[in-house]
Amino acid sequence: MQKMSYFIASIFLLGVFLTTSAGAANQEFPVPPPPFTEGIFPCSQCHASMEVNRKKRELKDEHTKIRMHHAETMRWCLDCHDAKNRDKLHLYNGELINFTESYRLCGECHGNLYRDWRAGIHGKRTGYFMGTGKRTYLLCAHCHDPHEPKFKLIVPEPPPFRPTDRRNVK
């Protein structure tokens, strides 16, 4: 009986150790759903039945709207997307992660920004910053298109009325 309880306790402690030792890697952020194009996810609905072609090439049949402009001379699709399980991304050490955790992948190259994002000073957070109210931490992908991350130019809002503007005088 005593041996059984020791066994269960050690299994329990092992479980605790394994879950906590991951530390920052498993830190939860209240992120909204990733910004997928409509109907594209889950990717396995097409890719599960397809053959894996690891050759770096320009895609001609599908995903033709994606313009690769993110270190494209050094990397291509399968350097981030896992070849065998297309519903996941893979880190450099081969670990598979969900799209909701894509910041871990971005953080592998952009470590400084990842550190700032974790602290909340890079990127965007909305909602409540104190207390128990709902808060939302936007993923990297919500602002930066992972395939073409540079911010596009946007149309500015109109300037304020000049003091002599007709609409400013009664």
Partner: protein, 426 residues
């Protein structure tokens, strides 16, 4: 028995006061044709001004041309000028009175009444500039929540109202004594007269500090502001006094020697020199160091980024001031009434430009975020300003219409006694 005596004397006093007021009404309503024309035209301007003010009161300050960029305009410009006039009037006449400079002795009361009218005008200019006049009770100490001593505006409210009370109390006391043909109790009134000298310096210094203390406006944040204000006040106040006293001399029997006027003009010459010197010092500092903070000076004297509304005005003012300075410096032009009066007019207008719009507006151009917005007063502001000036002049006219006869002895209690022989002292 005592009670009966008290009742009788009270009744007598009331009768005397009533007679006095009746007589003053008769005095102010009788005069020459010029007097009627003067009073009625002033009244017309006042009514027009009031109508325009009412429109502004109903719609809000959007009826003026002031904006968030230039949030003080013609009203505060006039206020600054008039505070200077009020200070100078007293500063000029009272020391002369104390030092027994005979030619000016007679006109102390008139100078004080002029100071009172100026202060009334200045206070009115602030009141029309306020957004919510009905909330002005918030400024009353202990009743409202006056931010004393931190806020310079609170100081300004206290010193201006105190000055007004002082400048009403002293002349009224003296005039009542003259009316009763009694010698004023100098031991009683002299401390007040002496007090009004530093108080006059005080009102203009506080007004200067109002602008001076704002670190946000480099054009105003200069220590030279208070001395410049006093120097320019000493130019404009006595100049208008010279003109007023010539008018008084003409329309009444008050004896004012030319010597007095020339002495005042000499004082103006020295003050104008000081004014020009201090202005020169400021210009040197700004132009020689050539920092970003000289932008307002550039706007005023040269124009900034093709905005040069005020440039002709300020140069005209400079020309007027220098011309007047020369006219008052040279004894021959100073002692000739025509050039003297010309000099006075030049100074009144020149200092008004320099101290009014030429001081308030460049403080806001460029604004703290670098924006340049040119301000020009619109019709509402002009009419209201004219209305208040007219009101001040009318008040002064009516006051001296009563004060001069009292001083010359034409209007006194002995007249009253003549009608009631039983009141003559035994």
């Amino acid at each position: 028995m005592n009670l009966r005596k008290a009742m009788e004397s009270l009744q007598g006093l009331l009768k005397e006061t009533w007679h006095f007021y009746k007589k003053t009404l008769i005095l102010v309503s009788r005069g020459s044709r010029i007097y009627y024309a003067w009073c009625f035209s002033l009244l017309a301007i006042i009514i027009v001004g009031f109508i325009f003010y009412w429109k502004q009161h109903e719609m809000g300050l959007i009826e003026t041309n002031m904006t968030d960029q230039v949030s003080w305009g013609l009203y505060i410009a006039n206020f600054t000028y008039l505070v200077g006039m009020a200070a100078a009037a007293v500063l000029l006449v009272i020391p002369s009175y104390i030092y027994q400079f005979k030619p000016i002795k007679e006109i102390v009361v008139l100078g004080e009444l002029f100071a009172a009218s100026s202060i009334v005008m200045a206070i009115l200019f602030v009141m029309v500039d306020l957004g919510r006049l009905d909330r002005v009770w918030h400024m009353i100490p202990f009743v409202g929540s006056m931010n004393f001593p931190t806020s310079l505006l609170a100081w300004d409210v206290l010193v201006l109202n105190g000055y007004l009370l002082l400048n009403l109390f002293i002349p009224i006391y003296l005039l009542v004594k003259f009316y009763y043909r009694k010698e004023p109790n100098w031991k009683f009134i002299l401390p007040f007269i002496l007090l009004s000298i530093p108080w006059a310096v005080g009102i203009h210094t506080v007004t200067a500090f109002l602008y001076n203390g704002l670190a946000a406006r480099p054009f105003w944040n200069a220590s030279i502001l208070a001395p410049r204000f006093l120097a320019s006040a000493f130019c404009s106040g006595p100049a208008i006094i010279i003109i007023i006293f010539q008018i008084i001399r003409k329309v009444s029997s008050v004896n004012l020697e030319d010597k007095a006027l020339f002495k005042i003009a000499e004082l103006i010459a020295y003050s104008m020199f000081l004014n020009l010197f201090l202005l020169g010092a400021e210009i040197f500092k700004e132009y020689y160091s050539g920092t970003v903070h000289m932008a307002s000076f550039k706007y005023l004297f040269e124009g900034l980024h093709h905005h040069n509304e005020l440039v002709p005005w300020i140069w005209a003012a400079m020309a007027m001031n220098v011309t007047a300075f020369i006219l008052f410096l040279i004894p021959s032009t100073r002692k000739r009434l025509s050039t003297l009066n010309l000099g006075c007019l030049l100074i009144i207008v020149g200092v008004w430009i320099e101290k009014g719009p030429g001081f308030v507006i460049p403080g806001f151009v460029p604004d703290p975020l670098g924006e340049i917005h040119e301000y020009v007063p619109n019709l509402v502001e002009l009419m209201v300003s004219f209305g208040i000036w007219a009101l001040g002049l009318l008040i002064f006219t009516l006051l001296i219409k009563v004060a001069i006869p009292i001083e010359t002895g034409e209007f006194s209690h002995t007249e009253y006694e003549k009608e009631r022989p039983y009141l003559r002292p035994h």
